[in-house]
Symmetry: C2
Amino acid sequence: MARTGRPRGFDKDQTLTRALELFWSRGYGATSIQDLVDALAVERGSLYGTFGDKRRFYLDAVRLYWEVYERHLIAALDTTPLLPALREILTHPARLDELISDMGVPQGCLVGNTTAELVPHDSEATEVVTRSYRRFTDILTDALRRAQAAGEVTDTARPEAQAQLLLYVVQGLSLVSRAGLDRTAALAAIDTAIDALRA
Amino acid sequence: MARTGRPRGFDKDQTLTRALELFWSRGYGATSIQDLVDALAVERGSLYGTFGDKRRFYLDAVRLYWEVYERHLIAALDTTPLLPALREILTHPARLDELISDMGVPQGCLVGNTTAELVPHDSEATEVVTRSYRRFTDILTDALRRAQAAGEVTDTARPEAQAQLLLYVVQGLSLVSRAGLDRTAALAAIDTAIDALRA
DNA sequence: TGACTTCTTGAACGCCCTGTCAAGAAGTTG
DNA sequence: CAACTTCTTGACAGGGCGTTCAAGAAGTCA
């Protein structure tokens, strides 16, 4: 059953990606529909017809953000040894180079930003955020468990606890980075965290 | 020169504190002046006359939040040994029991929330946030340096790096807590962080 | 070609938001 | 008591917001 009717005049995925960039840099509340219309070169009606209302649009962008991030996370962790990969993950908070080209100032993590702005009073946002955090710790727990078994990572703590701590570090780093990044201090802190994991 | 004219019909500090609670739970954008009027039982004109516009009101609340937090931080760290105090600080993110009575769900750290919502596009907010982070790391660096000298904390990393990492952990924990706190997992992560500091 | 479906356009709607202001109330000072 | 100052009240203005909608444009299908 082929689709009939006038075809869409813009690329849906690409538009969502650009909206994501805008939401990422300005946040949900500070990004108006008019801002999106101007930046995306798509009229209001088309945006509403394609993406629904603003909240749904935003949450779709967050979900896309997390999907891309998770893909990179899994790919990065699928290496041995683990610690250099972990350092890479911590060093580039929310690195989405493929998706977001030519990003300037660090914007933090969109999931973390959503947590601060929409959680807990928006239940759907809370669900998206909670699931993302859970996925992060699950993925890291697996990787840390393997690395502990291989003798690379210390087993003085359970991998679950190490993963949870790494979630805090990544989110804290992403957040604080928004206020201006002192790269030297940040790198020293990251290396301290990584060294603490070494067996 | 005594003040003349009709005296204010409400307590300024107390009103700012209650506004702080509201801003803390709902964020800047989602808290309207009308919300404040309803919750504070102070009319719009009086709020504007006393606190200036909404942004100034909010930033004053953030400054108050930080002042109270910093006082508690310094008091908590002025003990030996340091690590139990650090655990206390991490365990109760943004503990302001004196100021905020009967708080329910964790709201995160107001400075962190401000970072996500107003930084970097609001320069005054950026300044407040940056100064707060700087104060935090300075205070912790001093404490860690003393504890290293006393042989309590490991000197395998510089105290500046340890302090920066603790800032990330506190902010990450505060943020993630907004989305629902698993106390067991959080405590395990905190203990992992504290153990890593032990000499 | 003509019927049908979908997308585009941009004007318009209604709401709520921040911020203002004039009139009255409640104090202090001489 | 009279003059003065400050605070309170609540209506009001102006703007921007999210959202809708009718008319037209651009395709597909028979």
